[in-house]
Symmetry: C2
């Protein structure tokens, strides 16, 4: 029987018995220890470096000694002489185990399987990219066995890495022989989706990169990731240059309908933006743009189709037919994006005419399909994409909120940018406001505000600000349940002023007067009614009473104060503790798809099972929409909201009181 | 039980019993009758047209009557009204069988599975192209089931044509919705290799084309084929423009070695030639070049690599390593060839560094791998590619014949073109020659020759002429067994003249003197020795005594008189009846691969099993080469050659005679 000894790996704590003579790499692989190797144990990649820990580890009953590892091999000495292997370090594939050992796997040697915690949720990304590097050394060509170099490469990949026999992109096949000649027949190849060799380099290539892109109607945000470590090495964003053709989605589709070749022009500018974005991200990370080999893209259906060069006109009207609702893989160069010549671009699948690959990204990020409880995910943009479900069933819909939540079509509305009002409080007695602007921590009722906000100024109000101000106006009695602004009879205030045939609330009177008009309140009412009705429709379809968890995605979700969302009735009944932002879930989904190839296959399997609810043809949606126009009855704001506030509770309170109480609780107003 | 009736299909004679109500198409499919349908029986493609044969067919015991077929359907009436269906014709998919019937399948309706007889061999091409058309009508998009158009297309192809779910090239996905909108949601798609949708057209598309190209060092020859019928609708050829970089293969490789970017320049010019060739072929067939969707290419390894943009330098010296020995499929547009935007180009696989895809084409054309007897195939160019074997084992080698057989490096040599001497006879007594030139049927000893040959002149001697003249010189005793030219002592002739320190034979003394010099004879000796040694090596390796059949491919094979090949010992011992030209086998192989997709898979399976013999490292080759330099002993030419002449017979005769006899049979000569 072979003599067996004990080996303990740190920091994982994994241990086991192995035969004397086993290499440390083999032992690690058998015990499931995270020790990297890309050359297949040939002493070339130097990824599997380990450290011997000497001493008595009594708890583990191991005495680990230097002579329990075999002596330095020629390969190791060679790497040491070239300063590629630090003193004390060993190559796991060269060092053989001769006795009991404790071995430390330094962080660099663990990278491949490292888990990257995502900021918000507990979901980890396991780095298993679609694009993998393999270093092999091919035997010399031989007239006695006249195989082509390609076939030798295939054989090496099959025998050393158990890869299937695969083809090689023609532009890279051209590089094969020069690469072999350059580095003593050692080459590194990049394999895409275990299907195709898409890159060839001479010698060892250690790092390649991928770009995860969230293509929005307004902004395009890219994360540049190291495909070996999974780390985000740079981010870059830019405005979507299509804005010049139309502010929102529908105006862009109209532009296409009205202008021959309009889609081609929009396709071109967005691809140019991608090209520049990739360049900027690469520059900021200090890598050549040719080292980017993979890209994932999420986008709403219209952006998605325009990016792929598909005329989005059919998405502009019923029946909103997608050209494709599948994952599309194309060469970057075919989209005029200059990365590595054979870099691939993978667009995540769209779900339905109004529910895009961004929602697919959100699902990939939040994985409601794995949840036990009912999860409601909401991504608010010009439309609100809503996903509801759990591991048994998923529903998705898109609700036409309009752009009010983004600060658009609001009198003093603006994007969330420095100088935009983002937080608002209204004193329930004096009706005096205080607010905070992006870029300044001081509230407007602080004496130092003028000085401290001077740099950014007060330029308008953004989405989260508009929600807060309307909610506060409602709580202060400035607007009634129907959304009508009016002077509050028992409070003297110059803040509520006539504005044509209606009233407006003066939030700020600095250099620029910022008013909330009746139209603004109506826009918010319409938006919140659409959002609420969409969520209610899905809850209805699911046949449940309430959801267990609500995730608010995107900039809207990050900035909004969920208390106010609840006051306005934006979101359905849920324990407030279980409502929160899920960050840029679409962008995170793109990154997951970039770093974890299995997730691409999973999302392609999940989506066809998602039940698509088309709000436009659901009669109940209209009913719920009308219902949801009203604002929930006012409560004593701060006491009430510090507890768990639920819509039924608000409603019960409103409906439970006597008429007198109700009248008493409402400030009477004089109409102009 | 269902009532059954008899149906007899003509001209196939296939008959059977079918249930009343079965459509004629269904019956045909069940009985294996060759009745075309591309729309899947929807009455759209009108390919399945049939004719009712009325009358009593007593031999078959069938009374076939008009009312045994259902009445004309609305679809048929519609097609009739639009002149798309001739009177009397029925659609097989619409006409239902009500009683006993005799049905005629006209030729147009059989085309798809028609066999096209190849000129020379008995091997037929079954038309099963890699590129197939399918016409489908998609259901209208529906908000209640929001599938993408791509998915609807996939479903239609799967349900109507049992095709696997496949992806669609992005440029064509862009055309999907416009095409659906244009023709009432009816479209035709082209599917490549049952894997990918590469083209989309509105409505019915009936015909697409493919190009089979034989890319030679000197000429490029293309056959344009209708992929539905298999018919060659046009041919076109052009000189290989790479000639300006070097006449032969090795000089082109040298050019690459000496000139930075030389390979790129040669790649570019050959692709341009392809592009123009495709255009010319399309024009001559009267079709748009965009209707060409597939292309197959055969070429020797160096031409093959240059065409694909691979530096051929490694093929210029030992170990002659191919970059790829596999079938390569690329988009035509990636090779700068403008056909349909997604047209594919498939290069047949190369076998070894000296044995190219042209040899693969020859194997595909002749299928020695299916033969019972031992087949020797020889394609003579600058090198001779030699394949030997049968269904149990195949060997291949390339033998360095040099270009002498093509008329190159011969004093008065030229390509086979009008004015070139192609046939030669030498009177054994007078030593006076007579010859024939290409473009004139009259022999030079005919009094009318001067007049009749005036148009073409006498410009030189081509490959077949040089073989004949050397063989005739040998038979007439002008050259001895070692190949030395000398005056024949007992014959007075001014045809054998001093030429420096050697002699030459004056073949023609017209405007241009055409002489066969000692160097010319040496060149032919070297070439024939190489060819003979290569064949002998393979016969040796195979462990057989003699081959059963010899096929001579290419222009050489077509022009050569096998008797003379045998006299010179070019080809090994074989019954002369079984020696013949196999035409342009490489080009035929390209056409087979174009029209018959399974053959592409077969050749990819055959080739790795072919044993490659590298003559350069076989010591026996050198030995055989030296042996083969001598010319077989002279015999009485015309009596002997009119019987079956075999080398051993010649040898036996030579060896069997006494020294005196031998001396007597040889004309003594005086050396200068």
């Amino acid at each position: 029987m072979e003599e067996e000894v004990s080996i303990l790996f740190m920091p994982s704590g994994l241990r086991g018995q192995v035969a004397v003579g086993t290499t440390v790499l083999q032992a690690a692989q058998r015990l499931g220890v995270d020790l990297e190797s890309i050359c297949g144990g040939q002493g070339k990649c130097r990824k599997c470096q380990i450290l011997l820990q000497q001493g008595e580890f009594s708890k583990h009953r191991i005495v680990s000694r230097a002579d329990h590892l075999s002596e330095l091999t020629e390969t190791e000495l060679h790497h040491q002489s070239r300063k590629r292997l630090k003193d004390g370090r060993r190559l796991g594939c060269n060092a053989r185990i001769l006795g009991d050992l404790v071995v430390d796997v330094p962080e660099e040697s663990q990278q491949h399987k490292q888990h990257i915690a995502k900021a918000v949720t507990a979901y980890d990304i396991q780095v298993q990219p679609a694009l993998r590097l393999y270093t092999v050394t091919l035997p010399e060509p031989d007239m006695h066995s006249p195989l082509s170099e390609k076939r030798r490469l295939q054989q090496a990949l099959a025998s050393e890495h158990e890869l299937p026999i695969m083809d090689c992109d023609m532009s890279q096949l051209r590089l094969l022989q020069p690469a072999l000649a350059k580095a003593g027949r050692q080459i590194t190849v990049a394999v895409y989706q275990f299907q195709q060799i898409i890159a060839v380099w001479p010698g060892v290539k250690e790092e390649v990169y991928g770009l995860a892109v969230d293509l929005g109607s307004t902004t395009i945000a890219a994360q540049l990731c190291n495909l070996e470590t999974g780390k985000v090495v740079a981010t870059a964003d830019t405005m979507n240059p299509q804005i010049r053709f139309g502010e929102d989605l529908m105006s862009r589709v109209s532009y296409v309908m009205m202008n021959e070749g309009g889609d081609i022009a929009m396709t071109q500018v967005v691809r140019e933006a991608f090209d520049q974005l990739a360049r900027r991200a690469a520059k900021s990370a200090g890598i050549p743009v040719e080292d980017i080999l993979d890209m994932t893209v999420v986008a709403n259906p219209i952006m998605h189709h325009l990016f792929l060069g598909i005329d989005p006109t059919p998405l502009g009207g019923a029946p909103f037919a997608l050209a494709t609702d599948q994952t599309q893989v194309v060469r970057a160069v075919d989209l005029d994006i200059n990365l590595h010549p054979e870099a691939r671009v993978c667009t995540l699948p769209c779900i339905a005419g109004h529910i895009g690959a961004d929602t697919a990204g959100m699902i990939l990020s939040e994985r409601p399909d794995l949840a036990e409880e009912y999860v409601l995910l909401v991504d608010v943009g010009t439309n609100a994409e809503i996903v509801l479900g759990n591991r048994n069933r998923l529903l998705a819909a898109s609700s036409p909120t309009g752009p009010a939540f983004e600060g658009a079509q609001i009198t003093s509305g603006q994007r969330a940018a420095p100088g935009a009002i983002e937080r608002v409080r209204i004193d329930a007695e004096s009706l005096e406001p205080s607010f905070r602007v992006i870029g300044c921590e001081t509230w407007s009722n602080d004496p130092e505000f003028a000085e401290k906000s001077a740099r950014v100024g007060v330029s308008g109000i953004c989405g989260s600000g508009i929600i807060e101000v309307v909610a506060e106006m409602f709580l202060a009695g400035i607007i009634d349940q129907d959304g009508v602004i009016g002077p509050v009879s028992d409070k003297a205030s110059e803040r509520v002023v006539a504005d044509g045939r209606t009233f407006a609330y003066v939030l700020s009177e600095g250099e620029r007067s910022i008013r909330i008009t009746q139209n603004d309140v109506r826009a918010i009412q319409l938006a919140k009614a659409a959002l609420h009705a969409g969520a209610r429709l899905l809850i209805d379809k699911m046949g449940i009473e309430k959801v267990d968890r609500i995730g608010l995605a995107g900039a809207f979700g990050s900035h909004i104060d969920v208390k106010y969302a609840m006051v306005l009735g934006l979101i359905p009944d849920c324990n407030l503790d279980n409502v929160g932002s899920v960050g840029n879930a679409a962008g995170t989904g793109a990154r997951i798809a970039l770093l974890n190839f299995p997730s691409r296959l999973e999302i392609a399997e999940i989506l066809p099972k998602v039940e698509k609810i088309e709000t436009a043809i659901e009669t109940k949606f209209q009913e719920y929409f009308i219902d949801a126009m009203a604002l929930p009855h006012k409560t004593d704001p701060y006491e009430e909201l510090s507890r768990v506030v639920t819509l039924p509770a608000l409603k019960a309170k409103a409906e439970g009181g006597t008429d007198d109480e109700r009248r008493g609780s409402r400030r009477r107003r004089k109409r102009a």
